[in-house]
Symmetry: C2
Subunit: 468 residues, 2 copies
């Protein structure tokens, strides 16, 4: 297992701008970027924040290799600039929520501070990692929400977007999946690996009964029989029952059967009845085939006795939304706030070094509004709708917690949480603090953000300065 | 740059089945799998076959590391099986079209022959690679088709599905893109890297004019100015013109300006007029912002004077289809044909070791039907619709070429074509042989497959054997 990206995992323009910064010395200027997203995927009410530990890992080890430097030399970059890049280390400071937290549009998720060159060069890496892992963790959380206590296993590797599979399996577990078929990701991240059996196994032996016997002999503790190669109810399930009873005689237990085609609700009910009649109440039923949150919800509403769902394509590619639209914007440089203007007011950025205060109800659940203020301001006494200034809200007396915490200082990760189990538990805990109206699939309630007087004044002044 | 997957880049069940094969000696049984897909993505009329060179590369170098073996030991695999895996090498033989060819549903694309264990273990790797790269190459080909001779550049890295970006950029170029912003992929695959400038660059200097000057000084031969940070027509374009004229005095030429928001057609026309009036006819106009094949087509239909399109999310994630549904099915084992039965006749597999004959019109263009026969049969004299046996077609007198050629023999790649330029040219050449009715976006003509009498007889006999 050997998987290491380098400094060239970026857009060419980052390196081009870096050369310009280096040329006039502004590469050393202090600068702050915010990572945030604008649009919720899946018409969902929230996003599960994932990918942070990978980002910190990659930033700590980020280097330009000699091979990279030679390559960039041939691309026309200046020799002095490349010599500097040869010794490049990311020494920036990052504030972020804990990985697994629940996040919402418009509020900063990462605040990245450092020299202009270093914070610019890592933009693409940060976006690529957080956008994708947060997308998949969110998709997984939607499926978990309707799956009750069923086992959810990621079966997506074969349909994943190439090597995207590696971090997608990680994110799926953070969002609520129990396991993955992807051995590489399981090994890399300490995920639970699970698997069943393919049609080819049955086809090889030709005889389904013999194939089940062979598999049970090879995997006595971990056998799942695929029962739809020829005919699920007339061949697959009866043969599975026969071999399960043989296993019982050896003191073994068949773990599960798997349905992979046909009407899963009907077949699961019939198969369950057949298994139970044979005294195999402990044999579980797994189902797969084009599952997503809507199919899983429907199967559970029909009381289909399915214990394990194997979800592939729709999970691993975040179907139907292939990307979270996260962006990374300069909000301060050389100690001065910066803004990006746009004809679309929604796209005007919020300047300044900011903190996000998550307001809390008295029972500890999320209030429904995140309050943004300048870091120097502390918790604001009242907040203003960023786009409709007549809408304000008092914050005094409302509990809150700061969302952005120090996770990297001068290039070194702080208070790292690499255990996927801990991140997954945190996601589950934070999701439980989000009221149900934000979690429904159909027109979920909109979680709001408000900005402090300090941010508003800063933004209005910069807007005036850049007005045409 | 260091990017190496290992034998664990697979589904757990492949390794589990492998242990069962190993236990009874069937791991050495000769077997043949077909890779093929069933459903065209994007309602398109064809797929561009991509990913082959990467597959061959990975198969040649595929190993289980000591770390992998230790990990698998902890997962409960047997020690003797793992000792065998420690020395695992893929020694199989593969037939495939040349990478870049145009392929269609139902016909085999890869024929993979070897021992049961080796061809089973690599299933996931083959599916993961070919499904994704073919999806993206196809998306790219759609965009190229409507982009005329405009430059197309992949800007997708930040919104890509994690490390999927690496091979996606490769596939985009095969499908017809000219370049990528992804430096890592460009370095790895020898793609052309291109880039412009971000809003943060303008924001850092605060003054747009100064920012353009700084960039021109740093990149005198390769400057593209982003003109929409404050106001495109009132600030961005006039400032770009001013700096372009200054560059002329130094004997330099501004390469392009980039539009990234607003009405791209309107802004391009106004910007073009302003540039031309200033004698800057040579300065090109680049455009980006949520482009896809439909927006590019619309912009060209409006005669928007855009020379360079930067396409991001919709290209790199294959929006709206996140995956090609390619599968890998056992068609022969131990010298005997194998079948997978299904209640859905479309999902019954075609058994046997097969060849695909691409029928050709007299002018050399594609006939509209691929003829499948058993490898031993040669070109069939007539073919039969696989699902409606009363529909037959004479092939006698029709020119044809065998599509599946030897690309790997006993684990060694043969006649390798690694040059992306060659693969890209081949794709373009093969697409030019596909009649236009198969290339339109709206209800494209259906490219058909027919099967030989030999395949039909074999399938019918196996179906009868497994009937219930």
């Amino acid at each position: 297992m050997n998987f290491q990206i380098t400094g060239t995992y970026t857009d060419l323009y980052q390196l081009a701008m870096g050369q310009a910064y280096y040329r006039d010395g502004s590469h050393k200027m202090p600068a702050t970027f915010d990572y945030f997203f604008r649009k919720l995927p899946f018409h969902n009410g929230y996003v599960v924040f994932a990918g942070l530990a990978d980002v910190l890992d990659m930033l700590e080890s980020l280097r330009f290799t000699s091979e990279d430097i030679d390559y960039l030399g041939k691309q026309g970059f200046n020799a002095d600039y490349l010599e500097m890049l040869r010794n490049f280390r990311f020494r920036g400071t990052i504030h972020a929520p804990r990985e697994g937290d629940v996040i919402f549009p418009a509020a900063p998720v990462l605040r990245v501070e450092g020299t202009m060159l270093e914070v610019q060069l890592v933009e693409t890496l940060i976006l690529n990692t957080l956008n994708f892992q947060s997308l998949i963790a969110t998709k997984a959380a939607r499926i978990r929400m309707v799956a009750g206590d069923s086992v959810l296993s990621d079966f997506g590797l074969r349909r994943a977007q190439g090597f995207g599979a590696i971090t997608a399996s990680r994110a799926a577990v953070i969002g609520g999946f129990d396991s993955t078929s992807n051995v590489y990701a399981a090994e890399k991240y300490g995920l639970k690996a699970e698997g069943t059996m393919a049609h080819s196994f049955i086809q090889l032996y030709g005889d389904e009964l013999q194939a089940f016997r062979k598999f049970a002999e090879a995997r006595p503790k971990n056998s799942v029989f695929l029962v739809d190669t020829y005919n699920t109810l007339q061949s697959g399930v009866p043969n599975a029952i026969k071999v399960a009873k043989e296993m019982e005689e050896r003191g073994e237990r068949l773990k599960a059967i798997r349905l992979d085609s046909g009407d899963l609700s009907f077949l699961a009910q019939r198969a369950r009845a057949m298994l139970d009649k044979a005294g195999l109440e402990y044999v579980k039923i797994a189902a797969s085939n084009q599952l997503d949150e809507f199919v899983v919800r429907s199967l559970r509403q029909q009381n289909a006795p399915i214990d394990i769902f194997g979800v592939g394509t729709n999970l691993i590619t975040g179907h139907p939304d292939g990307a979270l639209d996260g962006v990374y914007k300069l909000v301060e440089a050389d100690g001065k706030p910066r803004i990006k203007v746009s004809e679309n007011i929604q796209k005007v950025t919020l300047p300044g070094n900011k903190q996000v205060h998550r307001l809390l109800n008295e029972d500890g659940s999320f209030f429904g509004v995140d309050a943004l203020s300048l870091s120097a301001e502390g918790v604001p006494t009242h907040i203003i709708n960023p786009h409709e200034a007549h809408k304000t809200m008092q914050c005094a007396g409302i509990n809150s917690e700061p969302l952005l915490k120090l996770v990297m200082k001068n290039g070194e990760a702080i208070n790292r949480i690499d255990s996927i189990a801990e991140i997954k538990n945190y996601a589950s805990q934070r999701l439980s603090m989000l009221p149900p109206e934000y979690k429904r699939f159909e027109n979920p309630h909109v979680y709001k953000v408000g900005i402090s007087e300090g941010i508003k004044a800063m933004r209005d002044e910069l807007l005036k300065k850049h007005a045409f």
